[in-house]
């Protein structure tokens, strides 16, 4: 089936797909977005059900292999200790992300120059600053101005409560003289722009039925639809088609019933995240691009980065009420974020004070690990004497790009339309393991300084076990750079090999930083949109 050609075709309606559409709206080009998922409405979120916690282990799992919905594609992660997690709907993974919103920092864009590792980005923090600000306003970010860990900026809404848990841990960090700050979150602390403020339900990962958490289906998309951007759901792109002239012509996609459509466009933008994007490029094979589209460098799928994380939990004397309030994050310490030559690792990590779990999640091992707490008499003790009193810190490390960590196509596994599925090959790096050791010791120190009676082997930290379901942040698999021999896109997201093909999701990240990436993904996307507009007369030269 053939459809009316469009000017701009965006693949993916999540964080970056929505932001690029918004940036390009003012050009009055005909913009179409194809999304494999559907709209999801607040009435469908599990937090309105009595047994809401169970959804975490079923149809609202963050693991697509557990959900197994029609719009999901399976991911083979047998060769990775970390499972990539996501959501497929209008809003993408902003539907079930936690809305934790720290920006990447100035040094994150300059790791080669400063520390001799990875590569510098072709763009820097100062360039992105106005786009961070614009995006924070649209998403509705809450936070406290004056954080000395960043160049000065003011979040548009006041901070959400850090709660008893946050206040307690803050005193510990103060005791040690370490940095901490209330986390920026894309969660409303007050009613704003037709959306309601947070009700502290603690189920951010199950979709926010209050509409307080900024998923792009309730931030960008209503504006985009009013502005005439066309959104086609249930549309799963099989491949990007290339003409004999080497330009992208459009895509072939499957509709809900499996019918194959051809959609032509003047320009194609890929916004499918760090696993979906390399998968699509590798599936787009042609005479001109036998190794996958835009892959003359061989870098498509390479340098996959996550944020490997582990945690440490302390037991306090008073109840910490950890189940009340947004899951991530209450406060964030960046004391150990920057490189310190006195340590045995380069770069650094954040200590995140996420809130704790409701009881079923706690008993089953926490958000990241399936490792149930003991049964029997010990079970009773844990639930009565530990569970109410815990507060923990997760160690969120900067992952360095390594070529052997990669996304390839699985030779056998496919989605329900027969499109080859991604396979993840990933090993946690030596530098990261050293950070874990350092971070776990520092986290324990901070918890004890905050008044923890003891460090306990459960409650999300789990003896320093690396979280399996930690693959929220998928970065680096189509990286930016000025050199076409070693990078996939240029400094403003245009593929070196295909001049009318752009990539805007975290696959273009050069480094990972040690912060949740969505804030930076969207700022970078708005910057790319701005660059497209500035270069519009010579866009494809």
């Amino acid at each position: 089936m053939k459809n009316q050609p469009v000017d701009v075709l965006i693949i993916g309606a999540g964080a970056s797909g929505a932001a690029i559409a918004w940036s390009l709206v003012e050009t009055r080009m005909h913009i179409l977005c194809l999304e494999q998922g559907d709209w999801i409405f607040d009435k469908d979120f599990p937090s309105r059900r009595d047994d809401y916690e169970l959804a975490r282990y079923g149809k609202f799992s963050c693991d697509p292999n557990v959900r197994g919905l029609r719009e999901d594609y399976p991911i083979n992660a047998d060769d990775s200790p970390i499972m990539p997690v996501n959501y497929n709907a209008v809003g993408g993974s902003t539907i079930n992300y936690l809305g934790h919103w720290p920006r990447m920092k100035p040094s994150d864009f300059r790791t080669r120059s400063l520390d001799g590792v990875a590569e510098d980005w072709p763009v820097d923090y100062a360039t992105l600053e106005p786009f961070f600000e614009e995006n924070d306003r649209i998403m509705g970010v809450s936070g406290l101005a004056g954080n000395p860990a960043y160049p000065a900026y003011t979040p548009p809404n006041p901070p959400i409560p850090i709660g008893k848990l946050g206040q307690t841990l803050a005193k510990g960090f103060n005791e040690l003289g370490w940095h901490w700050w209330p986390s920026d979150v894309a969660i409303l602390s007050r009613d704003n722009d037709g959306r309601s403020k947070c009700v502290n339900a603690g189920t951010c990962d199950l979709g926010c039925a209050a509409g307080a958490k900024a998923s792009t289906d309730i931030t960008y998309w209503p504006m985009l639809e009013r502005a005439g951007v066309e959104l086609r759901t249930g549309a799963r792109v099989r491949e990007i088609i290339v003409g004999d002239d080497g330009f992208a012509k459009g895509v072939r996609y499957h509709d809900r019933d499996g019918n194959v459509h051809e959609q032509l466009a003047e320009m194609v933008v890929v916004a499918c995240n760090g696993v979906g994007t390399p998968r699509l490029l590798l599936n787009s094979v042609s005479k001109l691009f036998p190794d996958g589209l835009a892959n003359s460098s061989g870098m498509v799928g390479k340098n996959l980065m996550f944020h490997p994380l582990s945690g440490v939990t302390g037991r306090f004397d008073e109840p910490m009420d950890g189940f009340k309030g947004p899951v991530a994050c209450s406060i964030l310490s960046q004391e150990f974020y920057e490189t310190d030559p006195n340590r045995d690792f380069v770069r650094g990590y954040g200590l995140h004070a996420g809130r704790s779990h409701p009881p079923a999640t706690y008993a089953l091992g926490g958000y990241g690990v399936d490792d149930p707490i003991p049964w029997g008499a010990e079970h009773r003790k844990r639930m009565d004497d530990v569970f109410p009193y815990i507060a923990g810190l997760t160690i969120v490390t900067e992952d360095l790009p390594e070529e052997h960590n990669c996304v390839t196509l699985d030779p056998d596994l496919t989605d329900s339309d027969g499109i080859p599925a991604p396979k993840i090959t990933y090993k946690i790096g030596e530098n990261t393991l050293k950070m874990f050791a350092h971070g776990e010791a520092r986290a324990a120190e901070a918890l004890l300084a905050a008044g923890a009676r003891e460090i306990v082997a459960d409650g999300g930290g789990r003896d320093g076990k690396v979280w399996r379901r930690a693959g929220w942040h998928q970065m680096g698999t189509a990286r930016m750079g000025n050199d076409p021999a070693t990078s996939v896109v240029n400094g403003w997201g245009r593929c070196h090999d295909v001049k009318n093909l752009f990539i805007v999701d975290a696959s273009i990240f050069v480094t990972a930083g040690a912060v949740n990436p969505t804030s930076t993904i969207q700022a970078l996307t708005l910057y790319i949109g701005d660059s497209i507009k500035k270069n519009i007369a010579t866009l494809f030269d």
Partner: protein, 148 residues
């Protein structure tokens, strides 16, 4: 759900499952928090097996072995855990899920019995002066990022 459990297992099997569940999640000493078997978590287990038929035969195999061992003591349960790990892990997981997702149990642990939306929890936003006091030591140390 209860009817289904009754049709899935014999009375002896059901009694064994209840006994096992009581061992996995025992009641509190004062009895204020009930044990898992005593409040019918077996019905949840039956329902879960119904939802995912691939679990049924490993469960049935393990149950047959467990019946021979019995569940009268913690030692017997340890034997089941050692000799029938697949069955045991499945039962443990379903026990925790079925038990802790119940509104009545949630309430006993200090959480709201109701679904968390729309009401959520009341957590007051800290007054500005409290945040100013708490963050004062951090601010007084000045910039803590590298210029790049």
């Amino acid at each position: 759900m209860a009817d289904h459990a009754a049709s899935l297992w014999s009375a002896d099997e059901r009694a064994l499952i209840d006994a096992l569940l009581n061992q996995l999640i025992p009641s509190s000493d004062d009895g204020s928090v009930p044990a898992a078997g005593s409040i019918g978590v077996a019905a949840f287990v039956a329902h879960a097996l119904d939802e995912d038929p691939t679990l049924q035969s490993p469960f049935a195999r393990g149950l047959a072995q467990a019946t021979e061992i019995g569940a009268g003591s913690a030692d017997a349960v340890v034997r089941i855990e050692t000799e029938q790990p697949e069955f045991f892990k499945l039962l443990q997981r379903l026990a925790y899920m079925g038990y802790y997702s119940r509104p009545d149990i949630r309430a006993l642990l200090g959480l709201s019995a109701k679904p968390v939306h729309p009401d959520g929890y009341d957590v007051p936003i800290e007054p500005e002066d409290l945040m100013a006091d708490l963050t004062a030591p951090v601010r007084s140390r000045g910039q803590c990022y590298r210029d790049a």
